[in-house]
């Protein structure tokens, strides 16, 4: 055994990888393929959103050169968007509490927290739909100007990711209700959590870059 090996104290249990994730295979790095693969997927997602955020910055403030239509300052309702951002942040908390509950084998709390996470996500999406509707009524659309194109594309794609996350969370809730999600499947919950936290950190940057940074 190398110097890097760790011997856990008596009573501490570390199960082999195939004990989690419902028969997940372990890679030669000491982690399961599912988790390693999902981190790689998140890397590609980071590049995906990076491209859209960069595009938003590239076209930001260029409308006055040759296009009309409403401008960000005329549309944004910062207190409202701050509330929806707060809700999304809280959903990350309920997500990790759901993971902690399933790891402890507390299925009742797991269902409460996973449902709370999905409901927070739905509230966030509801707020986004309301915001989009309001902006459209004010005359902003995908075609009205560069701000409209980049804003709706960036925030809409993020909203689509949140929607996928909600469906994923509800499917975990349904599996738990059917008794098909034991504490041995906690890695499945952890991977769903990684996705959920990823959409949260993307929003952290969108909220700052799109809504809070002063227009030049």
């Amino acid at each position: 055994m190398s110097d890097a090996s760790l011997q856990l104290p008596a009573g501490a249990q570390v199960e082999p990888a195939h004990g989690h994730g419902g028969g997940a295979h372990e890679s030669n790095l000491g982690v399961t393929n599912a988790k390693l693969g999902f981190w790689l997927f998140l890397s590609s997602e980071a590049l995906f959103f990076g491209a859209f955020i960069s595009t938003y910055f590239l076209y930001r403030g260029r409308d006055s050169l040759y296009l009309g239509g409403p401008k960000p300052k005329e549309l944004y309702d910062i207190p409202f968007t701050s509330c929806t951002s707060f809700i999304l942040l809280m959903s990350s908390l309920t997500m990790v509490l759901a993971l902690a509950a399933i790891q402890r084998g507390d299925h009742r709390r797991f269902r409460i927290w996973i449902l709370a996470t999905a409901l927070f996500g739905l509230t966030f999406i509801g707020g986004q739909v309301f915001e989009f509707t309001e902006f459209y009524r004010e005359g902003l659309s995908l075609h009205s100007n560069l701000f409209g194109t980049t804003f709706f594309t960036l925030t809409g794609l993020h909203g689509a990711h949140v929607t996928v996350g909600i469906i994923w969370l509800l499917s975990l809730y349904a599996r738990s209700m059917q008794g098909r999600l034991s504490s041995e499947h906690s890695e499945a919950v952890e991977i769903a959590g990684l996705y959920w936290h990823f959409v949260d950190i993307v929003w952290i940057f969108i909220f700052t870059a799109v809504y809070l940074v002063p227009a030049n």
Binding site: S2, A4, L6, L8, P16, K35, L47, L89, V213, P214
Partner: protein, 141 residues
């Protein structure tokens, strides 16, 4: 990785010894409420209490961010942009380290993440600079 259930062996590519046997023993003894470890973890996940504390910090930073955005016009806008960027970065790293568990997972995840982050940041910054995205005098928004 050993097949023995009570041994955690760092993989060859795992990036050096971070914890000693005594560290793990001490940590588990001090925090009996800690969760059982999953494959790919060096240390147990944080406790629910720690999760809540992180959430409180995130909410406070978000409130400060919103407050800072209202200083536009009173304070140099470049200063506001720097402050907002720093606060967003702090929130980002708190979520990644505590909620996505990079703090407690094997070093291979941290290395993959930081390498990807630096590469993506460099690529997009080069693209934006070459397209003059930050040039002055291109019209107001």
């Amino acid at each position: 990785m050993s097949d023995e259930p009570t041994e955690v062996e760092e993989p060859a590519d795992g990036g050096g010894a971070v914890l000693t046997r005594d560290d793990v023993s001490r940590e588990l003894a001090q925090h009996p409420e800690r969760l059982p470890m999953l494959p790919g973890e060096l240390r147990p996940h944080p406790t629910p209490r720690q999760y809540v504390l992180i959430a409180v910090v995130l909410v406070v930073i978000t409130a400060l961010e919103v407050g800072a955005s209202y200083l536009e016009g009173d304070v140099n806008s470049n200063l506001i942009i720097i402050v907002l960027t720093v606060m967003a970065a702090v929130k980002f790293f708190l979520v990644v380290a505590w909620y996505m568990h990079l703090r407690t997972d094997l070093l291979i995840f941290r290395r993959m993440f930081i390498t990807g982050l630096l590469l993506a940041g460099a690529v997009y910054m080069i693209a934006l600079l070459s397209l003059h995205a930050f040039a002055n005098g291109r019209g107001g928004g």
